[in-house]
C-alpha cells in the first residue's frame, strides 16, 4: 500500500523509536524509506554571539556534522533490515516545514515521526512540530510515542 515512507528524526531517543517503526513497516510493506533531519536557521541572539564575529560557518559545519551522524544512524537501521533508504538534510528550516517540504519533494505517501523532539516538553500530549505536521500534512502521518 504505502510505497515510500518519510521518517523524520532529530537523533533523539524517541526519534530512534520512530526510525525502527518506520523501517519495520517499510520492510513489511516492501517499500522504500527516506530519512530526513532538519536543522533550523541560525539565530544570532539565541546563539548570543552577536559580538563574537561571524560564526555562521561554524554553525553550519556543526549542523552538517550532527545531521550526518543522525542520518547515518537511520541508514544503519534500514541496512540491518535490508530496506532501501535515502537521506535528506533539510537546512535552514523549521522542523515541521522541512519535514512537509521533503515529503512533497521526494513524493512520500506516509510520514513517520516521534511525538516529541529533542527539546520535547514531555508534559505536552504532543510536541509542537508533530502538531504542525499533523495539521498541515495532506498525507497520512504516523506519530510514535
Amino acid at each position: 500500500m504505502y510505497k515510500h515512507i518519510l521518517i523524520a528524526t532529530d537523533g533523539s531517543e524517541l526519534a530512534a523509536k520512530a526510525v525502527v517503526v518506520g523501517v519495520t513497516l517499510a520492510k513489511q510493506l516492501n517499500c522504500k524509506v527516506t530519512a530526513v533531519t532538519v536543522s533550523e536557521p541560525w539565530r544570532i541572539f539565541v546563539a548570543g554571539e552577536a559580538a563574537g564575529g561571524f560564526p555562521i560557518n561554524e554553525y553550519e559545519k556543526d549542523t552538517a556534522e550532527t545531521a550526518s551522524r543522525v542520518l547515518a544512524a537511520a541508514m544503519e537501521q534500514a541496512r540491518k533490515s535490508n530496506v532501501a533508504c535515502a537521506t535528506v538534510h533539510a537546512k535552514d528550516q523549521y522542523p515541521a516545514e522541512g519535514i512537509l517540504d521533503t515529503a512533497k519533494k521526494v513524493g512520500c505517501d506516509l510520514i513517520v515521526m516521534a511525538s516529541h523532539g529533542r527539546r520535547g516538553l514531555g508534559r505536552l500530549l504532543l510536541g509542537s512540530e508533530a502538531v504542525k505536521v499533523l495539521t498541515h500534512s495532506t498525507i497520512p502521518v504516523l506519530i510514535c510515542r
Binding site: M1, V21, T24, L25, Q28, L29, L125, L126, P140
Partner: protein, 110 residues
C-alpha cells in the same frame, strides 16, 4: 509489527478514507482490525427539552440504530477488502459501550 489496528469511524467521507486505509493496512500487514464508532452522551441543550425517560430512550435507540447500520456497512467493506487476499485480516465489529456518564476531557480531543 502492528498486530491489531483500531479504526475509528463516524461514517463521514473523511472517516471513510481512514476506514479504507486502515483496512488496506491491516490486510497488507495481515493484522486484525477493530472498527469503532462512538455515540455521544445525551445532551439536554441540543434538544432544548427536559430529558424525560422516554426521550432519552428514544435517543438511545436512535443512536444504537445508527451505530448498528454504520457498522453493518463497515462489515461489508471489510469483507470486500479481505476477499481478495490469501492472509485475510479478521474484522470484528460491535457497538461500543455507551459512555453516557463518562466525564469528557481533553483526552477525548487528542
Amino acid at each position: 509489527m502492528f498486530k491489531h489496528l483500531l479504526i475509528a469511524t463516524d461514517g463521514s467521507p473523511a472517516s471513510e478514507r481512514a476506514l479504507d486505509q486502515g483496512l488496506l493496512l491491516a490486510k497488507t500487514l495481515a493484522a486484525q482490525a477493530t472498527v469503532v464508532t462512538v455515540t455521544e452522551p445525551w445532551t439536554e441543550g441540543a434538544y432544548a427539552t427536559i430529558p424525560t425517560p422516554s426521550l432519552i430512550k428514544a435517543y438511545e435507540q436512535a443512536a444504537a440504530g445508527g451505530a448498528a447500520s454504520l457498522l453493518d456497512s463497515v462489515r461489508k467493506a471489510a469483507e470486500e477488502a479481505t476477499a481478495s487476499v490469501a492472509t485475510p485480516a479478521t474484522s470484528r465489529t460491535s457497538i461500543p459501550p455507551r459512555g453516557s456518564s463518562r466525564p469528557r476531557g481533553i483526552k477525548d480531543v487528542i
